[in-house]
């Protein structure tokens, strides 16, 4: 196992200690040591936004807190959803009396624990709305889209929700913005190599060297078909065609392209895919508003990447362009 660890069962607690050593002035750690609360918030923001999920996806989810993004994040064990306790701790600290939005990936355990937390918060008089992000096109057919998993598109949905909240919007308005953003966002991934969960010490799934699994999820959930690895351009075309097939960009819409590398895959290969996808979009007459590549949500040292396209109407464009700074999410803005 090529990993540098102490006791595998302590790795999340130790990671949080290290995060606090690096960013203690920017974030506060809650009593359970599994809640991260941002000390930087726009005064204009009335509601609280809480994200979270299993560890092992860094920079997601504590890296998603910051002005213009989430106000706090609840962490679970590696690839396990957080329990209600850190979610409640964070929500109680970020609520300003106008309610809290829960924004997290649509996984069974996460839905249950965030829902449990929401139920508990009723006793603290805190109103909660939830939006489980569902953007992984390969994880369920269009007619059961609400059952889809949440992957890299969640970063863009959070960007939209965060910007809307900083405009002073109400909980319902921000919830609606998140749903609208999710509706115009699709992601599909391709797995190239497994990762190793610390406690397990062996690969989470078997994928023979030289083969790929189109549609694979961020925990190595099986995709649509295992085949020999294709050329980068051919794979990029396959992913893009699947996304555009459902998204059908409208006239006034431009595209935000996000290529998320899953951990081991180098930025070089992410940029090669950005090259092809932006070329194809322009050829298809779809304006590219912005393209980014980087590690937005990883799966420890998994090899592979995902392609996300968000179709921007005027509102979404305004919100993705709003200023913001997340603790460790690769920047989505124009750097200068």
């Amino acid at each position: 196992m090529r990993k540098l660890l102490n006791d595998p069962f302590e790795v999340v607690a130790e990671m949080v200690d290290g995060l606090e050593a690096a960013y203690g002035e920017q974030i506060e750690v809650t009593p359970s040591r599994r809640g991260i609360v941002s000390r930087g918030r726009a005064a204009s923001r009335k509601i609280g936004i809480v994200t979270g999920g299993g560890s092992g996806h860094e920079p997601a989810f504590f890296g998603y807190v910051g002005p213009g993004f989430a106000d706090g994040a609840a962490l679970g064990n590696v690839f396990a959803s957080p329990s209600a306790t850190p979610i409640v701790e964070v929500a109680e600290r970020v609520d300003r009396g106008e309610g809290v939005l829960f924004l997290y990936g649509n996984y069974g355990g996460d839905v249950m624990n965030f829902s449990m937390a929401a139920a508990l918060l009723v006793d603290s008089g805190i109103r909660v709305l939830q939006h489980p992000v569902a953007d992984d096109l390969a994880s369920a057919p269009p007619d059961r889209a609400s059952e889809r998993r949440g992957v890299a598109g969640g970063a863009l949905v959070l960007k939209v929700a965060g910007a809307r909240a900083d405009e002073g919007a109400s909980l319902d308005e921000v919830h609606a913005a998140a749903a609208h953003a999710n509706a115009r966002t699709r992601t599909i991934g391709v797995g190239l190599g497994p990762c190793i969960v610390p406690a397990a010490g062996r690969p989470t799934f078997e994928l023979p060297d030289g083969s790929m699994d189109v549609g694979m999820g961020v925990h190595g959930e099986a995709g649509m078909a295992r085949r020999e690895i294709g050329r980068a351009d051919d794979v990029a075309d396959e992913l893009l065609d699947l996304l555009l097939g459902e998204l059908e960009p409208g006239d006034g819409e431009s595209a935000f392209v996000l290529v998320d590398t899953l951990g081991a895959t180098p930025l070089m290969e992410g940029l090669v895919v950005v090259r092809r996808v932006t070329q194809r979009l322009r050829d298809a007459g779809v304006a590219v508003h912005r393209a980014r590549a980087g590690e937005y949500i990883t799966s420890l040292e998994m090899a592979g990447l995902s392609l996300t396209v968000m179709c921007l109407d005027d509102e979404l464009r305004r919100l993705v362009d709003a200023p913001g700074r997340a603790l460790l999410m690769p920047p989505l803005d124009e750097p200068w």
């Binding site: 329990s83 355990g109 249950m112 829902s115 449990m116 139920a119 508990l120």
Partner: protein, 199 residues
Amino acid sequence: MVAAFARVLAATEAAQAELDALDALAGDGDHGMTMVLGWRAVVAALEAEPPASASDALHTAARAFADVGGTAGPLWGIALLYAGRVLRNADVDTTYAATAAGAAVAAMEEIGRATVGDRTVIDAMAAARDALAAASGHGTPLDEALRDAASAAAAGAEATATMEPRVGRAALNPERAYGRPDAGARAAAIFWIAVADAG
């Protein structure tokens, strides 16, 4: 109420191996341990903050059990929470018990997006709810009503042996668990049997 939870913990500890084995058939074999950790947290929390009422006790239990996380944590957490809200400091009689059980099952169904017949804990809980509702209708006293609920829950759990799992890890490899009851349903039966002290 506190004594009841202590009985549930003891009964679940005794059945941990059985529950883990059942969960290992089509899941990850941790349901027994998870339920023991859950009831331990409940008993410890109740000893730390002695509850003023049954609803207080259930509220404390809810927060404590939820801390276990995973799937069982929120399921039992929200069930205990909604049951506690129904009681709202009332003295527990058969009618209140039936209403509380109904609230608990509805909460589980909502959070789990599952229902009777999906081969989950809900199948045993719903059986207990129905038994309590019938007892309430007949004016049966609480302890006897709880014994009815216990035997109904046990039967409900057994019935899951021939059901197709449609949610949770079991749904990923249904054939493996066929012929044996669902771990979550057995854990619920053990809960009701201990509450009714009909062990």
